[in-house]
Amino acid sequence: MIAKNLPAILPLIFLASALLIPLLGVWKKKIAYPFAITATLAAASLSVYGFIYVILNGTITYYFGGWVPPIGIEYVYDPLSSFVAVVINVVALLVLTHGYSVVKIDLEGRQVAYYSVVMLLMTGFNGMIITGDLFNLYVFIEISSLSGYALIAVGEKRAPFAAFRYLIIGTIGASFYLLGIGFLYFISGTLNMNDLALILPMMKDSPTILVALILIVVGLGIKMAIFPMHGWLPDSYTYAPTTSSALIAPIGTKVGAYVLLRLLFFVFGIDYFSNELPIADLIAVFSCGGIIFGSVMAIASKEMKRMLAYSSVAQIGYIGLGIGLANPFGFIGAVLHLLNHAFMKACLFIVAGNLRTKAGHSDISLMDDSFRKKYPWTMAAFTVAALSMVGLPPLAGFFSKWYLVLGTIESSRWIYLAVILLSSLLNAVYFFRILEKVYMRSSVKYKSDESYSDNIRQDEVVPSMLLPTLVLAVGLIVLGILNVFIVNQIYKMMPEGL
């Protein structure tokens, strides 16, 4: 019963709580947080249940109002979408657990509105993942983007301007996507993804479809911040409040990447976008540019959150590269990196948030070993996540890079291989300089001051913030160890013909 309706339940849980939180908030302000976390917990456990159900019993489809597609709107819960749903809902649950204390400090008195918008954001993300209808997807893209702008704008003094820029660029992206599905609809007469996948091969030579494909790739490229369309990302992530950036950075661009993956591999078909047209190569080349550019800019940033934002540009490049390779290993690498990077980035942004709450800043040049002494667990989690980003086995980040490398070797793209290896080195540079400062650089300026260093007491964040940090860090080790099992599941998600 629950399984049959699961595709509709997931977005509805969040939509209902987005509406109920402000209503109940009028009566009692404190109810907002428990309500939001309960909804997220319910969604996370349902999506885990749904993933197991789909793996065992096959795809669930849900027809809205009982209208059979292609007339009605269809929600599809297949192995790939259920997998991504698990990733985003679990990460959101951890980030919101962490958010309790942070939001209380950062956004005093505005929690009701904040959590309501967070729920709306999750509605958008879940809907984008589950829907099987192109126009429905557009509406969910806009729901998630609009709430994203709001969540970013409540941050620091400069945040509204960053959010406005994101709004202008994001609207161009969404409008390009809308224009693209317009072309597709007028030539094929359907908006249903499965239906369209059957119709498109019959009219392969039509230039209309080519234009639609380009518009959709550019539109979604802006949403997932593929280089050189990443301009909105660094400022937005830097100036957003901790919980917003920890929520949007790991999930937002990943969902964009998922949508691109879904449309390219499952609707347009691998043959069309990689063999007949050089779209796949273009995506791969731009992603490589993003990997190098993002890593170099991350090295140049002096502030931790900005560094992480640029590192996001680079990491999205890995997913784009996996999509662009268009071979089985590339697909596995992209999907696995989607999971791993969501966990790594959530962990790193949460650590940056912990530092900002306790130390008041996350400026890299001011870090020294007093950080290690004051926040041992936070810095331990940071170390695990940083090593995973660099790609040391057995941490999760190693395996997604491993599959991407296998993918480049399989297609004999040696330049891409060089880019992946070089970027690992650059990752090492920008993470190790923090680790070096935190573990090596003495906070004692003069030797006579040694008593000072003994006086530094442990000053760790509250348990509700520490626990999610540690769970994410341990999760990276667990994901690394379980990678064989996960990759076996990813084989089931592959489109036919790959």
């Binding site: 557009y138 806009e142 709001a150 509204p160 709004l167 609207t171 161009i172 609809y185």
Partner: protein, 122 residues
Amino acid sequence: MFDFIAGHYDYWFIISLITIGLYGMIIKKNLVKKLIGMTIFQASIILFYISSSIKAGATVPILSDKFNSADVANYINPLPHALMLTAIVVGVATVGVAFALLVLIYKRYNTLDEKELIERMK
């Protein structure tokens, strides 16, 4: 050639609107003008859907003897119009959020000029 240009006049109109919108968003320095560009851009896409689904001499999609719509070829496909109603709502929401952001920016920096704004942020 003339037929090609004259026969697609609505598309030329939409293309020029899209260009004007993009121009406004990219070149104009005033944030409100950027927003106006964005609205024009969105409107052009709505017009694209509407003008593409138009059919001369067709009737409403209601199955009734009055409208002579028993034959499929006689009525206009209502779906693009319905889609665009949703897109209009989305557009209105976007403009609403954008204006809220502009109010915030103006309160904090007392200007909406991009150059000036970047200057004051330093």
